[in-house]
Structures are given as C-alpha cells and as structure tokens.
Amino acid sequence: MRHLMNPLDFSVEELEKLFDLANKIEADPAKYAHICDGKKMATCFYEPSTRTRLSFEAAMLNLGGQVLGFSDAASSSAAKGESVSDTIRIISCYADICAMRHPKEGAPMVAASRSGIPVINAGDGGHQHPTQTLTDLLTIRSLKGKLGGFTIGLCGDLKFGRTVHSLINALIRYPEIRFIFISPEELKVPDYITDMLTEKGIPYEEVIRLEDCMPQLDLLYMTRVQKERFFNEEDYVRLKDFYILDKVKLSAAKEDMLILHPLPRVNEISVEVDDDPRAVYFKQAQYGVYVRMALILTLLNLA
C-alpha cells in the first residue's frame, strides 16, 4: 500500500505517469466519472483549510466516490484527546483512502504507519504540502509543455513558505532550471536550500525587487506573506505589502511568462493582473483537482 507524504515520494518517471493521467482526465472527465463508485474518501482536517479540503472532496466526487470527514480538530475526537494513531485505525474501517491535514509536522506520517488505507498528506504544519507541489508541477508541465529548461522566479515569503521549499526540491530533479529568489532580507530562502543548490551546481540568484529580474523570468511563482508564520503583528504589517505584482511591473515580463500562486492571495497580486493571459493561478486551482483525481486513482490502484 502506498501513501503520499512528500512530493519526492514519487520518482520523476512516476510523476510523468501521474501527470499524463491528470491530463487524460482533463481531456475527458466523463470517462473517469464513475471509476470510484462505491469508494469513500475521509478528509481528516485537524485545522481549517477550505480550499485544499474542497479540492480533495471535488476530486473524489468527480470520480464518482463519496466523502466523509471533519474540517477542524474541535469537531473531531482529537478534542477528546484521541491520538492520530487511534483515529486513523478507526478511519480505516470507514473509508478507502484518507487525506489528512494536521498542524503538527509528521502527523500524516504517523497516521500512514498505522493505517489500513492509503493516506495523503494534505499539509502538516510548516513541513510538507505535497499535493500543492504536484499541482504546481502539473500546471507548469501542462501550460509550458515541459518541466525543465526555464528560469523561475519565486517571490515573497521564501523563508517560511513550505510550498516554495517543496517546489524547489521537486524542480531540481529536472534539467536546466535556474532560480531567482525575490524576497526581503527578513524572508530570504533558508541557507540550507541555497547551500544545497550550490552543492548540486544549480544556478540561483537572490534579488530584492521584482523589477530586478522580471524580463528574465519564464515563470513567476508568487506567495503570500502568511500572517500565521509571524510571532509579531508589527513585522507582518511591515512586510506584507513588500511585493505586489501589478500591471506596471508585469509590463517588463516576457509575453509567455506564467504567473503562478498557491492561493489564497491577499494583495500580492493586484486584481488588475487577473485578466492577463499570463495569470494562470485560477487554472492552477483547476489543475489541483485533476492531479488529486489522478493521485486518488493511483493510490487506490485504479489508474
């Protein structure tokens, strides 16, 4: 039985298969509408995350399956003090697959080790969020036609942003990737990542302003400055408006550059950019459903 804990759990070849399947689903969703008839997915969300939960639920419903679960710890048996290990043993009796989000890092891994059904890590604290990374990769691959051979700018909170760290780790497996990290000094990408890139001989640059690199980018990955990662309100307020993408900044970008964002957006992308054909973050959310559908089929051995 297979689980998904980390985006690197799948080899590059396995990801190719997964993405091919996601693209087939995209091309002909009706063909897959009943593959999971009679199957159930448990969405165990120990902290609220409406988008991710609904994306999983939509994926399962699109496949003909059903969903059950809870959307915050207060409405689960965790409020009574039940361990993750016990909860997943129970859930294994009720469902065929489980997507788990938990504020504690490593909780889905503990669940997977005790589970009788495949477990998907739907985000564990600041640690991993593998289905977001799969979504990002599928979006890039589908819209650029390849993974590799481009310069990607990552902008915003590069210190605490787990989606950024996971994406970097996933992209370095592909050839000719060049990174440009765009962030304020306070939110720079951690040293262990730049050390790792240096060690592997992967080119990267660190710049302070979006304008400093815009014309070079094939992809721009914007991130939110997340309030919950700060211990202090003042720091958050001071930094959150640092990097706002607007039409003026975008005018220096390549015609075929893609703008991605894991969402939700606060104000780091001006709404005036939404209608630009380079803005693909809403399409990205749609790819998130396709990749989760492909993942559910793969983990249930129905692919």
């Binding site: 361990s83 993750v84 290990s85 938990h102 504020p103 504690k104 890092e105 490593g106 909780a107 891994m109 503990v110 564990d124 604290g125 600041g126 640690h127």
Partner: protein, 145 residues
C-alpha cells in the same frame, strides 16, 4: 600520575573528548549496571592533549554502540578479556536512532502523540546530520534524553 588498574573482563572506551565521560556514562545507562566502572577524566593524550576514559567491567553486549557512535564515533572501544585487549569495535554512524534524542520542534507530532518513539534518521553522513523522521528538524546531541 594517577594509576587505575587493569580490568579483567569488560570494555574500555578510550579517546573520549575531555569532559564528555559523564555524559556518556549516563547515555549508556552505566549507572543502572551493577558492575565496576572507572571514570577517568582529563588523562594525558598524545593525540588529543587531554581525554577521558571509561573502564567498565561488564559484557560488551550490554553496550549500545549506536548511541555511542551517535555521540562521538571517534571513541575507541576496546574489548577486554583476561586483562588483554581482544577486539576493537569500530563505531559507525547508525542509520536511525530510537529514543536517544528528543525532537525539540514544538510543531512536531512527537510533542503531542503519546508513546510515539522519537526517531532520528541520518540525513547527511558527511556532515553527520540527523533529522527527525517525522518533521525533519535537525538534531544536535544537546537534545539527548
């Protein structure tokens, strides 16, 4: 110079970094054993200047070499029989260590899940970096139990 006699049967841990012998004594749970233990601190050493030595009169199998290797794999382990060195154990960094160090990350599942073993995995052999199996927090020997 202070002389500590030979042991007949047991093991000698040599080349311990000066000042570390008591830590090792506790980590190996030697305080729980009912046998003779000599702790020699700040012995003269050509190689290290100063070193600590532990002499323990008990079966080598009671010694957790993984813990010792994790703490300092440069320690020499001499197995003694009939007062003579009969074997030298090489310490290699263990792939995984269980319940030797505690994860210090307050966001780690080990901070709330009862009876979950604290497992650290060797992530970088060259740099001797261990990471928590669950949250991947980097470990230091300072976080030992």
């Amino acid at each position: 110079m202070l002389n500590v006699g030979k042991i007949e049967e047991g093991f000698v841990l040599d080349h311990i970094e000066a000042g570390k012998s008591l830590d090792i004594y506790h980590h190996l749970k030697l305080d729980k054993l009912d046998c003779t233990v000599a702790i020699i601190k700040n012995a003269r050493s050509n190689k290290m200047g100063k070193k600590d030595i532990l002499k323990v009169e008990c079966d080598i199998n009671t010694l957790n070499l993984d813990i010792l290797a994790f703490i300092d794999h440069n320690i020499t382990v001499n197995v003694i029989k009939d007062g003579e060195i009969v074997d030298k154990k090489e310490l290699v960094l263990p792939r995984e260590i269980h319940n030797v160090i505690k994860c210090k990350n307050p966001r780690c599942i080990t901070s709330i899940e009862q009876e979950l073993p604290h497992i650290f995995v060797l992530a970088d052999e060259e740099k001797e970096i261990y990471r928590c199996k669950y949250c991947e927090e980097k470990a230091g020997t300072s976080s030992t139990w």
